[in-house]
């Protein structure tokens, strides 16, 4: 099946949640983004954020993790129904990534994806480019992250 047969254009799919523990925030930020507001509780309280918060890249990576967990379950479900799941390939990047609110210690973010467009690549027969909107919302219902993504699909 194709992605466009599986998902209605414009319909949001809930992927699951990811909890940002202090340990996970520090583990990510220490390796990749050791700015004071991501690794030092007291410095974070003095910053514009007002408290220790996750690196924006951690918020994005957690979307990917949540998507893949969803996708594994979805592929198994389709296979159990005798359907062939779409074959997804790498992504070429993203646009308009917005970190809308800080993600603080013990926040739980619910992630979603919306298929925005799906079109065959003229230059590569059998390849389809899917455009997506990825979003994350915290436990208060406030959006924390959004980006326009893309993922290749092979027929």
């Amino acid at each position: 099946m194709r992605m466009s047969e599986l998902y209605e254009i414009g319909a949001k799919t809930e992927l699951g949640t990811y909890r940002f523990t202090e340990e996970s925030i520090l583990h990510f930020a220490t390796r990749f983004d050791p700015q004071p507001f991501h690794v030092d509780r007291e410095a974070a309280e003095r910053s514009l954020f007002g408290g220790l918060c996750a690196s924006g890249w951690h918020t994005c990576a957690a979307w990917m993790k949540t998507f893949l967990a969803y996708w594994a379950a979805e592929s198994a479900r389709l296979a159990a129904e005798g359907k062939v799941p779409p074959t997804l390939g790498p992504s070429a990047g993203f646009r308009n990534l917005q970190w809308l609110r800080p993600v603080f210690v013990d926040d739980t973010v619910a992630y979603s994806v919306t298929l925005v467009a799906s079109r065959p690549l003229a230059s590569r027969p059998g390849w389809i480019m899917n455009s997506t909107l990825a979003e994350g919302v915290n436990q208060a219902g406030d959006p924390v992250m959004r980006f326009q993504g893309s993922v290749l699909e092979f027929e």
Partner: protein, 156 residues
């Protein structure tokens, strides 16, 4: 950590900061992928070779995170950064493979005071991450907020 000595005023249009070098190891690619992006081409050399990426390749999100760390080590940790509202675009143009050495640059495109937050200015950068062959593997533009050295400059 060295003392922070870069303020908004120091990010004049045209100024460029070198990124890297940073080695990309097999172990790090697999560790990141296991945690956040467990797809075969990021976990297994043979699966990577069979994919269109041509080898064990870093997750795009891992490349983004390594790019972040290179910005940190080049200029952000010695600056008065107040974080970034987002990223205009990021293109993962070529695979980042195990054994690659990443470099590149961040160049200031423009800067402006933030009216809503006196004492803070926004600096827009164009970032290029390159590999050891001189190929651009990742291209991006984004804006980062910095504290001003002189708060009074924005009161006019």
């Amino acid at each position: 950590m060295s003392e922070a000595n870069l303020y908004y005023e120091d990010f004049a249009p045209g100024r460029s900061f070198a990124l890297g070098p940073r080695q990309v190891t097999t172990e790090e690619i697999i560790e990141f992928a296991r945690e956040f992006d467990p797809q075969p081409m990021h976990l297994d050399e043979e699966a990577g070779k069979r994919s269109i990426l041509g080898g064990l390749a870093a997750s795009g999100w891992h490349t983004s995170a390594m790019f972040m760390r290179m910005m940190i080590d080049s200029y952000l940790l010695r600056s008065h950064s107040e974080g970034a509202p987002g990223v205009d675009f990021m293109e993962w143009k070529k695979p980042v493979l195990a054994g690659d050495t990443l470099g590149g640059s961040s160049t200031v495109l423009e800067s402006r005071p933030l009216r809503s937050r006196p004492g803070i200015g926004v600096v827009k950068f164009r970032h290029e991450v390159t590999n050891q062959h001189g190929e651009v593997v990742c291209l991006s533009e984004n804006s980062i907020m910095f504290r001003m050295r002189e708060r009074s400059e924005v009161s006019a």
